[in-house]
């Protein structure tokens, strides 16, 4: 086969690409558009000034990465609530099963994706850090 034609064809393609608009996102300056149903950092939903979570343990049960730790407590109204709610972001695989499993719609996943930290312990998100603002 003639070896030159494919090379010229390839060169034509690269030359055409030269005039295309680059797809690069100038990240820290330009922010990506996060999809509505993006599975990023978790958030604990709030209702009547407290977390909706009732500490039913469904989310740690369903979690395939075993990254959620919940401890139940009893509040002043003798209602069950999560006294401890921790998610280890180093283990989390962002599958979203916890959100699906939640019977009281207390958990959601936000568009937050910049989860870098300096210490391993900083990756364990406590209840206070997870509560939606």
């Amino acid at each position: 086969m003639n070896p030159i034609t494919p090379i010229l064809h390839g060169m034509k393609i690269t030359f055409e690409h030269l005039f295309k608009k680059p797809v690069t996102l100038q990240y820290p300056d330009e922010r990506p558009k996060v999809a509505q149903r993006f599975r990023g950092l978790h958030g604990l939903k709030v209702s009547h000034n407290k977390a909706k979570c009732v500490a039913c343990y469904l989310c740690p049960t369903v979690c395939p990465a075993k990254c959620i730790r919940v401890e139940a407590g009893e509040d002043a109204n003798h209602d069950k609530y999560a006294s401890v709610y921790e998610i280890d972001m180093l283990r989390c695989i962002f599958c979203g099963y916890c959100v699906e499993a939640c019977p009281v719609d207390a958990l959601k996943m936000t568009g937050e994706f910049e989860l870098a930290n300096y210490k391993r312990s900083d990756f364990v998100y406590s209840k206070e850090r997870l509560l939606e603002k």
């Binding site: 060169m11 690409h17 030269l18 680059p22 797809v23 690069t24 100038q26």
Partner: protein, 354 residues
Amino acid sequence: MGIEILGLPLMYYIAMVAKVLVAFVFVLLTVAYATYAERKIIGHMQVRLGPMRTGWHGLLQPIADGVKLFFKEEIVPSQASTFAFLVAPLIALIPAFITFAVIPFGGVIEIAGYMIPLQVAAYYDTAAGQVMDINVGALYILAMSSLGVYGIVLAGWASNSKYSLMGGLRASAQMISYELSAGLSLIAVFMLSGTLSLTKIVELQSGMGGFDWYLFKQPLAAFMFFICSLAEINRTPFDLPEAETELVSGFCTEYSSMKYAMFFMAEYANMVTVCALTATMFLGGWNGPFAVAVPLLGPIYFIAKVYFLMFTCMWIRATLPRYRYDQLMHLGWKVFIPVAFANIVVTGVIGYFI
């Protein structure tokens, strides 16, 4: 013009130093910004942006790279042969730069009554009324370009590392094979020109409004010379000596800091030289419309041609993957050399009957 040193007017020395400085600074700047241009062009060819963050659209990137490399730690492997290891980058770099001495980058300009040919190793003979340059300029270039191989082979051997050694071996084999066909394709040009002086070769291409190029008379030789030169200076798709997928970084695996930068500069300086040589041999050098009448147009045409060829090098790099080693040898020995010989024979036969 009263003062004379060693039988030559003072102006000769001033002009010579000025030409050396201008040519050297031009090559250095081109080398620095060729790295930037390459990253930008290949980036855009891959629908990316390339460097953007150092200065406006990354324009200060070569300076940042240089400063970074300059301040890096010099590492000499304990088992390396130190002297050869230190001297190898210089051997690679110097021939790349001194080749430029014989390449004419413009016509003759007149300053204060003194005629200065725009070529480093040349002077204007007022008695004969013509430019005198090295009459074997092309031979000098071929000699210098083969000298650059020693730097790479020495680097590969002195590093005392198997990757470097493999890179050096590949470099020597590749450069020797491609040097042959590059030289042979130039012979076809010399058969037409009848001279090895680059000034004469450029002059001979000045007909037809500056478009009487050897490219049109010897298209095959031009094509082969350019491809073989790419192979000789280790540009992609022939960059087997540093094939990072197989040999880490080839001959410069063990190098760091400014010594590594020297290899890098040598590579790009070689690219400038080869493009300048191709422009001189096949694209009419500094010739172009009105170049003889307006002397300042000459360098502009020359630079435009060199930059166009350098763009082509980068374009090829963005398009083609690396050749396999046996394909490389096959191409060099079984395709280019026979075709170059055939080209010489055909040129000779046609030249005999015309």
